[in-house]
């Protein structure tokens, strides 16, 4: 009894002393590790940061220590970032995003690398606890006889073992949690997750992200990102145009029209706006607008990629075809009826009539085409375009077995050239007709006049080449 009374205060004091020593020692170590004193100047801070990163090309040297060009570049860049007032987290994020976690001497608290933080804590804590328990048992063992005589020695040993196991498991669990917490508070940075927030905030990066979403078929995602860009920069033509395109792909074509109009108003020379505008207009049956967009696009110095897109979409041929069909429909409904009105009252132009006649002829309705033009020629006698077109329709309907239409065509072509002696279409058409009728000198004369013109329409040059008119005359 006396021994117990005398022993308790000594044991209690010893325990308190140990705890106090542990707390003071641990606190001192933690304080020394965490608080090294803030840098006094930007250069100090840049140097401290440079010490926190590994030289990408050297073994065992930090960016601050190495003289490799890559390390020098990083030092310089860190200096720039520090001068710009960037946070340490930003600088770490930038470098880790380029070189990966390995460049960072303070590894991440997530993923496999978090084990670097967790395992030492678990190991040290568990080992410390194990040693503590071992010391305790060594102290207790000599007093076994005086502590508890009511239980057999074997039972006490089993009880102590179970207690030790429980303690050990508890300590491992607590240490693991502590390790995870240490890892979390020590790093928690990766290229994808930054402490300082998402660094991909510029509209440029958002646009590329949106393109990726669009490319992968995530239309809603792309539209959302384009909305983000437009929130930052409402006049961004790329975002306006591609949002319109995304909406069109998502089935909301009409919503894209206004966006394309905005984009074209802001930058009429943005090729994508013209091409997507033409496609959207075609979808909505607005052929005239589509043609306007395509004409504007043709006047631009667009990238080969956009040219390819126009070809792939078959935009030119589709618009041409639809324009032809539209004109034919209009002309047929007005002129090809039992009692057609006077031509000036129809609201049609000579070009539209000729286009409709060509469409009819291309569809095999040559007689209808000739009748249509003849009807207008009966009312308008002095239009060289009309006369040239009429003559050309007649000449093309001739064949070696039946050359008469070509002979009938010549007076119409002569009439056109009588009105306009340098009418390029009439000159070329008459040259072809003369050549067909084997009047080669006359054909060569017409071709010579055509060659002397200051401006020669490309389609006529192509026509001459396609049918080798010059070869026929040689």
């Amino acid at each position: 009894m006396t021994a117990e009374v005398q022993g308790r205060p000594r044991t209690g004091l010893r325990a308190v002393a140990w705890v106090a020593a542990f707390v003071v020692g641990t606190s001192a170590l933690l304080f020394a590790a965490v608080d090294e004193g803030g840098p006094e100047t930007n250069a100090d801070r840049a140097y401290q940061l440079a010490n926190d990163f590994a030289c990408p090309t050297c073994q065992g040297q930090s960016v601050a220590e190495s003289d490799a060009p890559a390390a020098r570049n990083i030092r310089r860049e860190i200096g720039v970032w520090v001068d710009e007032g960037r946070a340490d987290e930003y600088i770490r994020d930038q470098l880790v995003s380029v070189w990966g976690e390995d460049i960072d001497y303070t590894p991440s608290g997530t993923g496999v690398t978090s084990l670097v933080w967790i395992l030492p804590v678990v190991g040290i804590a568990t080992a410390g606890a194990g040693l503590g328990l071992a010391f305790r048992r060594w102290q207790i063992t000599p007093e076994i006889g005086s502590v508890d005589r009511s239980h057999p020695v074997g039972e006490r040993g089993e009880g102590d073992k179970q207690q030790a196991v429980v303690w050990m498991v508890g300590i491992v669990v607590v240490a693991t949690i502590a390790g995870v917490l240490v890892a979390q508070f020590s790093g928690n940075r990766s290229s994808g997750e930054s402490v300082s927030g998402d660094i991909r905030t510029t509209s440029r990066e958002l646009l590329v992200e949106a393109q990726q979403a669009l490319g992968s078929g995530d239309l809603e995602g792309a539209i959302d990102i384009y909305d983000d860009v437009l929130e930052i920069q409402p006049s961004n033509t790329e975002a306006l145009t591609y949002k319109a395109w995304s909406l069109r792909l998502a089935g909301d074509t009409e919503a894209g029209v206004l966006l394309i109009e905005d984009a074209v108003a802001i930058d009429p020379e943005y090729p994508e706006a013209r091409v997507f505008g033409a496609v959207i207009a075609l979808d909505l049956g607005d052929i005239a607008t589509a043609a306007v967009h395509l004409d504007a696009f043709d006047a631009l110095d667009a990238s080969p990629f956009m040219e390819q897109l126009v070809e792939q979409q078959g935009l030119r041929s589709r618009i041409e075809l639809l324009l032809d069909d539209e004109v034919l429909e209009r002309v047929e409904s007005i002129l090809m009826v039992d009692a057609p009105p006077r031509f000036p009252d129809t609201g049609l132009t000579v070009d539209e009539v000729l286009l409709a006649a060509e469409t009819l002829a291309a569809g095999g309705r040559v007689v209808d085409a000739l009748e249509l033009v003849q009807q207008v020629v009966g009312q308008i006698h002095d239009d060289p375009d009309l006369l040239a077109g009429y003559g050309w329709l007649l000449a093309r309907s001739a064949s070696p077995d039946s050359p008469e239409p070509a002979e009938v065509a010549l007076p119409r072509l002569d009439a056109a050239l009588a009105i306009d002696p340098v009418h390029p279409d009439a000159l070329v058409y008459r040259a072809f007709t003369h050549a067909f009728l084997e009047q080669f000198e006359l054909a060569a004369a017409d071709l010579a006049v055509f060659d002397s013109l200051d401006e020669q329409p490309a389609e006529l040059i192509d026509l001459i080449a396609a049918f080798d008119l010059r070869g026929q005359l040689d």
């Binding site: 995003s97 073992k161 590329v208 080969p304």
Partner: protein, 188 residues
């Protein structure tokens, strides 16, 4: 049945040492199964990400902005006039540029690495190459692309995404093959 004191001490010592041994074993396993850090640093972590912006004055007095080349492949070539592999690969870049200039589907941009602008001007005057060359304040570009040594080339896809990193000298055929492979992987 009571255990001898020495046996219990051994048991406790095992309990104390075992966690440390397990922790050490896990660490050794982790470190042994990973490639050396110097090798891992060579891998570009930017592949598949938006290519870092490159813009700045060119040696011919112009201005280069990589975003102006969206829609075509851009070979971002980091080089130095004092690096032998860079000098060897230069004719291949010239061949590549000439082959693609007509098609307009790819271009080269050279960015100097640890070199003097005057050397670069002289180098291009002697060896040819009519693509944009950035020679002033290019250290920042090298850091943003993660350049460790030259020559290093980066393939930027028409979408503006960094598609590949090529370490060492390249040939025109290499570049064409790589672009074709990337296009095939995208199409498939």
């Amino acid at each position: 049945m009571s255990q001898p004191a020495s046996s219990r001490r051994v048991g406790m010592a095992v309990w104390a040492v075992a966690p440390v041994a397990v922790a050490m074993a896990l660490l050794v396993l982790l470190l042994a199964t990973r490639s050396p850090s110097t090798e891992r640093r060579l891998d570009s972590h930017l592949i598949g990400e938006v290519a870092p912006l490159i813009e700045g004055p060119t040696i011919d007095g112009g201005w280069f902005d990589i975003d102006d080349y969206r829609g075509q492949w851009v070979i971002v070539n980091f080089f130095s006039t004092t690096c032998v592999p860079c000098i060897r690969e230069h004719p291949q870049l010239v061949a590549f540029q000439e082959a693609h200039a007509q098609l307009g589907d790819a271009t080269v941009v050279s960015v100097t690495f640890d070199d003097r602008p005057s050397n670069v001007v002289e180098f291009f005057a002697e060896n040819g190459g009519n693509w944009p060359v950035l020679a002033e304040d290019t250290g920042s570009h090298a850091v943003q692309y993660g350049v460790t040594a030259v020559p290093e080339s980066y393939l930027v896809a028409p979408s503006g995404v960094l598609a590949d990193k090529l370490i060492g000298g390249v040939t025109a055929a290499d570049l064409d093959a790589r672009i074709e492979a990337l296009l095939e992987s995208v199409n498939s």
